[in-house]
């Protein structure tokens, strides 16, 4: 992916840029809002990572607002030291697609960037999701593996649905909490792990090939190959 990074902190910018490049992305960096706006308006990007507060008169929110009024629909991820909920709401209202509070783990950033950048091209709703021999039917809300039906609770179904929609991508615990449960809070302990491992047990019982993988220091990932 071609990613525009607008971040004024040199150290954070270097770290993010290096990490994204190592993950196989092309990164353009702008140190302030004005340059960022210029780049965003003149070149084509798959994804933008913006600091919420930027020097030079144009901050992240203004930048996105300007782009959106010009019809630019490039996905935007906000980075911000402002953690208050209404700040998040402000950022998302301005046209941001996701919001990540500093300090953050790079794995979290990468997971969110890839989730945003590789969103399905068409919004046409799929009725079935498939990973290897695992199949999830969105209409009948059933899960089968190798033709064998697996009973899951509604919450586990949504958890699996989210993992399968991002098959091959890392999904972090916070992302699961935000997207599956729709809450922004700190669960203190890794309660999500319990839910995932319960789901994993149901899916993998009787099969020798696990589908849900744990990515150390990051989150979970569903894919066919180990």
């Amino acid at each position: 992916m071609r990613i525009l990074l607008v971040e004024d902190d040199v150290e954070v910018a270097r770290f993010v840029r290096k990490g994204l490049q190592e993950a196989g992305h092309t990164v353009e960096h702008a140190p302030n809002g004005r340059d960022g706006l210029f780049l965003a308006a003149s070149e084509q990007f798959d994804m933008m990572v913006l600091d919420r507060m930027l020097p030079g008169g144009v901050d992240g929110v203004r930048l996105v607002e300007t782009l959106r009024t010009q019809g630019n629909k490039t996905p935007v991820l906000f980075l911000s030291a402002l953690s208050a909920v209404d700040e998040r709401v402000k950022g998302l209202k301005a046209g941001g697609d996701d919001y990540l509070v500093k300090p953050f783990a790079f794995a979290e950033l990468l997971a969110r960037v890839e989730a945003l950048g590789r969103r399905p091209a068409s919004d046409a709703p799929a009725t079935k999701l498939r990973v290897a021999d695992l199949e999830l039917d969105l209409l009948s809300r059933t899960v089968t593996r190798a033709g064998k039906r697996i009973d899951v609770q509604p919450r586990e179904f949504r958890l699996l649905e989210h993992l399968m929609r991002h098959a091959g991508q890392v999904v972090t615990r916070t992302m699961l909490l935000e997207k599956v449960w729709d809450y922004h809070f700190d669960p203190q302990t890794n309660v999500i792990d319990v839910h995932v491992s319960r789901l994993r047990q149901k899916l993998d019982r009787g099969f020798d090939r696990p589908l849900i993988h744990t990515v150390r220091n990051a989150g979970y990932l569903i894919r066919a190959e180990p």
């Binding site: 208050a84 209404d86 809450y183 302990t189 319990v194």
Partner: protein
């Protein structure tokens, strides 16, 4: 600047100090900028306007009435004599004038009848006055009476045949009466203005003296001394109301300030420890790690330590936000029941993994007004605690009820060791951890946040035994939420 009084407190103080200067010099404001002076001016202006209106009415009703009376008499006389002229000609009018003059006991009648050739035919003026020398004219003029000037009101009418008739009244006495009246009015007007000025001055003084304590208090608060309060007069008037409101505000500021001080103390104390630990570990690894794998492990551990520290920061910020009441902006009506069900769902799995049972008693609907994320965080903290402290085969209960007053009550119970009564009072303090809990992981901020959330929602946090009398009484935490 008042740095001597500001001292070493940890808050930015430059700007308030400047305000303090402004407040301290506030009483001798420019006269026009002083609200007291403006009120006084408005008062005096109203008073004087009323006096002018009163005087005008009085004048119109007295002096004006005198003038109108004279004119009416002259006009009536003119009508009567004109009629006589039409009926009886010159002789009738002459006779009428003679009779009128003879009967004029008040001695104020003036008449003159003039023939077309300018000859005086009748009346009591020796010649035609210049002031009334126009047909139909009304005039004021001076005539001589025994050598003394006297004021007269004259009316000139033309009769058929070229005769002219002058009818008048000596108004000298009326003019003197008018003058007396004028003097009286002028004096009373002067008195009214004097009273207006005195009243305005008193009012301004009163306003200033009632406001001075508030000034003084605000100035010393701005100067950094938060212990001052505005004294109440006990009159329960608007000024007392203002003072009481100010005092309530100051109490709140005081509480927030001590909260901030408490947090900075706690941060200094409790965050330095993990930071120092992380730093020591990294430094030690740098110096003594035998191979790259060990170094990597130490760095990973360092990152985990930093993450824990930043989570504590996040928790502290949330508490501060809740305590400052800033999040009340995010308040919205919502149904708490599904939120509680979600919390039970999220932590139920964790409890199950530990062999515990999480029971719920949640009503179908629980409509409240509040901050959904914060309430979930509070309940999550309570459930996290309960799961942590309940024994491996224990029970955790999450229950909620709607109170008759429209508020709600959320109860979380566990059958763990409970909390000693002495510790309960301190449980809401930041970073407080009972001795028995030192070995379990946790920041000591969980209940602080719950308490702050309860206060934010106009409620309270209460701790008690879940099963009193047992060896391990368990803990029952009641989170009360005030009505919207």
């Amino acid at each position: 600047m008042r740095h001597d009084r500001v001292g070493a407190r940890a808050l930015p103080r430059e700007v308030p100090a400047r305000h303090a200067e402004a407040l301290a010099t506030a009483p001798p404001l420019g006269l026009l900028r002083s609200a007291g002076a403006r009120f006084a001016l408005i008062f005096a202006g109203t008073f004087v306007t009323a006096a002018i209106a009163f005087t005008a009415v009085l004048w119109w009703g007295t002096a004006g009435a005198l003038d109108r009376q004279t004119d009416a008499a002259v006009r009536a006389d003119a009508l009567a004599l004109s009629e006589r002229w039409r009926d009886g000609g010159v002789s009738a009018v002459v006779e009428g004038i003679e009779d009128r003059l003879a009967a004029d006991i008040e001695n104020h009648a003036i008449y003159m009848l003039q023939a077309p050739d300018g000859r005086r035919v009748a009346g009591n003026l020796n010649q035609w006055p210049v002031a009334a020398d126009a047909p139909g004219a009304w005039a004021y003029t001076t005539v001589q009476r025994e050598g003394q000037p006297a004021e007269a009101r004259l009316h000139d009418i033309v009769l058929e045949g070229g005769f002219r008739l002058l009818i008048g009244r000596d108004i000298d006495e009326k003019t003197r009466l008018r003058q007396l009246l004028g003097e009286g009015v002028a004096w009373s007007f002067g008195a009214a203005i004097t009273f207006a000025i005195i009243g305005a001055w008193l009012m301004r003084g009163m306003l200033a003296s009632r406001l001075r304590p508030a000034f003084a208090t605000a100035a010393s608060i701005a100067g950094g001394d938060l212990s001052h309060r505005v004294p109440l007069t006990g009159r329960h008037d608007e000024f007392d109301l203002l003072a009481a409101t100010m005092n309530t505000m100051l109490d709140r500021i005081d509480r927030l300030m001590s909260g901030v001080r408490g947090v900075s103390d706690a941060i200094a104390h409790d965050l330095r420890t993990p930071i120092a630990r992380a730093r020591a570990k990294l430094e030690d690894a740098l110096a003594t790690a035998p191979d790259e794998a060990a170094l990597k492990l130490a760095v990973e551990q360092g990152i985990a330590d930093l993450d824990a520290i930043s989570r504590v920061f996040q928790a502290l910020l949330r508490i501060a936000e809740a305590e400052a009441g800033a999040r009340r902006r995010a308040f919205a009506p919502f149904d708490l029941a599904p939120v509680l069900a979600d919390a039970a769902d999220i932590y139920g799995a964790a409890a199950e993994a530990r062999g515990q049972v999480l029971d719920t008693r949640i009503p179908e609907r629980l409509e409240i007004v509040g901050d959904r994320d914060l309430l979930l965080q509070a309940v999550a903290n309570l459930l996290d605690n309960a799961v942590k402290f309940a024994p491996p085969d224990g029970h955790v209960l999450l229950a909620a009820t709607l109170r008759p007053d429209g508020g709600a009550e959320v109860v979380v119970e566990d059958d763990g060791p409970g909390l000693a009564p002495a510790d309960r009072a301190r449980a809401g303090e930041r970073f407080f951890r009972a001795d028995a809990a030192r070995t379990t992981p946790g920041s000591g901020l969980g209940l602080s946040l719950v308490q702050a959330v309860a206060h934010l929602h106009g409620g309270s946090l209460a701790l008690g035994d879940a099963k009193p009398g047992r060896e391990s009484p368990g803990l029952r935490v009641t989170l009360g939420l005030g009505p919207a």
